[in-house]
């Protein structure tokens, strides 16, 4: 059974990304697609190295399919390639010094490459995107009101919405039902309509680079709709990866070498 590996938020952390690639290689069920849902760059790591790593996968490695994240959008703004020239959101959140640091940590060529990336991917009945179709900054979490997640799923026009902005790993099933909608126009009253939909899912795919020593990502099997969240522990000193895993039904996958 072929699976997809879906990750987000490398944030310049090349070591974490390498550890994660190692983990993907070790999967018993082969991984056929590799999606990177934005935030490739960040403040703490080596942005240039990560961009280069993504641009040129090694022989035999999957070609990562990368879409734009919130940090990339800030780069567009700083390099005057985006809609908001002075990156007000970034400066409000992180300060002007940080903005300068980010500006210096990426090359113009890298930013142009980011600019060529997609806003998201529609594959099968899935939308894979950094925030949501509302924007890069839209942070979906399981603590949001159900109606808001429901709205994002409707806008996504997909049964599975994979996103990365929150950095959390979660799956959240939403089932709207029993809504009676009645419309009156100048021409009269239309017959009431019952509205509802089959359950759909928002999946937070975790975050690779934000927490040092621990990268999380998601494996998705389109054939059986099964989600597995993977946590990869890594450390330079040990030279090999420690990892733990948890799946939708709580059972652990058999290829674990060391659990937490």
């Amino acid at each position: 059974m072929e699976q997809w590996a879906i990750l987000s938020g490398i944030e310049g952390n090349l070591v974490a990304y390498e550890a994660l690639l190692d983990d993907i290689r070790r999967q018993r069920d082969s991984v056929a697609e590799l999606y990177v849902l934005g935030d490739v760059v960040g403040l703490k790591g080596d942005n240039r190295a990560v961009v280069q790593r993504l641009q040129s996968p090694r022989t035999g490695e999957l070609e990562p399919q990368v879409c734009i994240g919130w940090w990339e959008e800030q780069c567009f703004n700083l390099y005057l390639l985006g809609g908001l020239p002075d990156a007000p959101e970034l400066i409000a959140q992180e300060g002007a010094d940080t903005a300068q640091h980010l500006f210096e940590s990426v090359s113009r060529e890298s930013v142009e490459w980011m600019r060529s990336l997609h806003f998201g991917f529609h594959e099968l009945d899935c939308l894979l995107i950094h925030g949501s179709t509302v924007g890069y900054a839209d942070e979906l979490t399981p603590d949001m009101p159900a109606i808001q997640l429901c709205d994002r799923l409707i806008r996504a026009d997909a049964k599975n919405l994979f996103c990365g902005r929150s950095g959390l790993a979660f799956e959240c099933w939403i089932e709207p039902s029993d809504l009676c909608s009645t419309i009156v126009t100048l021409e009269g009253t239309q017959a009431p309509k019952e509205q509802g939909r089959s359950p759909r899912r928002v999946v937070g795919v975790g975050n690779v680079g934000r927490i040092l020593g621990q990268a999380t990502y998601t494996l998705y099997n389109p054939a059986n709709n099964h989600i597995t969240f993977k946590t990869v522990k890594y450390g330079k000193a040990k030279g090999f990866a420690l990892q733990g895993s948890q799946s939708q039904h709580g059972h652990e996958s058999p290829d674990i070498r060391a659990s937490r």
Partner: protein
């Protein structure tokens, strides 16, 4: 309390006068306006002066915003290249004739108004550019009402009036997070309502008549009003002012000057 709510006047002074007279006859306690006072029509200054002099609480429409900020509506809010060219012509004309104090008034309009359990917006609570069409998914529509915290959401922008009741919607939610027990929640949403006020000055329901709504906060009754007026006067003024004559032709047929966007739920990313 009896309310009258109107929207999308678009510089059509004749239509506004007819609607105000109709409102007078219905002895309302309060009038609200949902923006788009200017754009396309020949009398933007007179319309704004009238709304100001009557002290009508008004929220900012997409045209009011564009006249203030410069034309920065994204291309995507136009349904066609032709509509965009016409929109730009209308914008440039309006931008030239508008008085500084009118511009300032438009700049200071609020995006939303709220009064007890009622909310007032131009397009949707998300954006002045979003269309809440009656065909919108019921739960998406419900989300727009709930995001305001109100029970009744008044909007305009589509130029065709309607009332939509959304009742009994249930949402169940099941969350799984690694290392945590699965949680489940279910909620039912009480009756919410969207009332679209139509358009005073640029109707699109296939007749030239102005439209607006009456709402009784006690009985919760809504009345969609369609008011005939001398639209030929406005048509003549459009041509006299040097605006494209096609605007007059479309107005006389209730076709709206520029038709609405293809993707009504699109939210501009600018």
């Amino acid at each position: 309390m009896k309310l009258a709510v109107m929207s999308c006047i678009h510089g059509n002074y004749e239509a506004l006068n007819a609607v105000l007279s109709d409102i007078d006859r219905h002895k309302t306690d309060q009038i609200y306006c949902l923006g788009d006072l200017v754009g396309y029509g020949p009398h933007p200054n007179a319309v704004v002066e009238m709304i100001r002099s009557l002290d009508i609480p008004t929220c900012q429409g997409c045209w009011d915003e564009d006249i203030v900020d410069g034309l920065n509506a994204c291309d995507c809010s136009y349904p066609s290249q032709l509509a965009e060219k016409r929109g730009k012509q209308a914008h440039e004309w309006t931008d030239q004739v508008i008085h500084p104090e009118v511009r300032e008034y438009l700049a200071n309009l609020p995006i939303t108004l709220q009064a007890e359990n009622l909310a007032f917006v131009h397009g949707s609570p998300n954006s002045q550019h979003e269309y809440l069409l009656p065909s919108m998914d019921g739960f998406a529509a419900l989300e727009r009402v709930l995001s305001t915290g109100a029970d009744v959401l008044f909007c305009g922008h589509t130029h065709v009036p309607y009332v939509r009741d959304l009742e009994g919607g249930k949402l169940s939610m099941r969350v799984h997070q690694p290392g945590q027990a699965e949680t489940q929640k279910q909620s039912t949403v009480s009756l919410k309502r969207i009332i679209n006020a139509g358009s005073v000055g640029e109707p699109r329901h296939g007749r030239p008549n102005a439209t607006y709504v009456l709402y009784d906060t006690d009985s919760k009754q809504v009345t969609l009003r369609e008011v005939p007026y001398d639209y030929q006067k406005t048509c003549l003024a459009i041509v006299e002012q040097g605006l494209p004559p096609i605007f007059a032709w479309r107005l006389a047929r209730g076709m709206e000057f520029a038709e609405r966007a293809d993707d009504p739920n699109h939210v501009c990313q600018r």
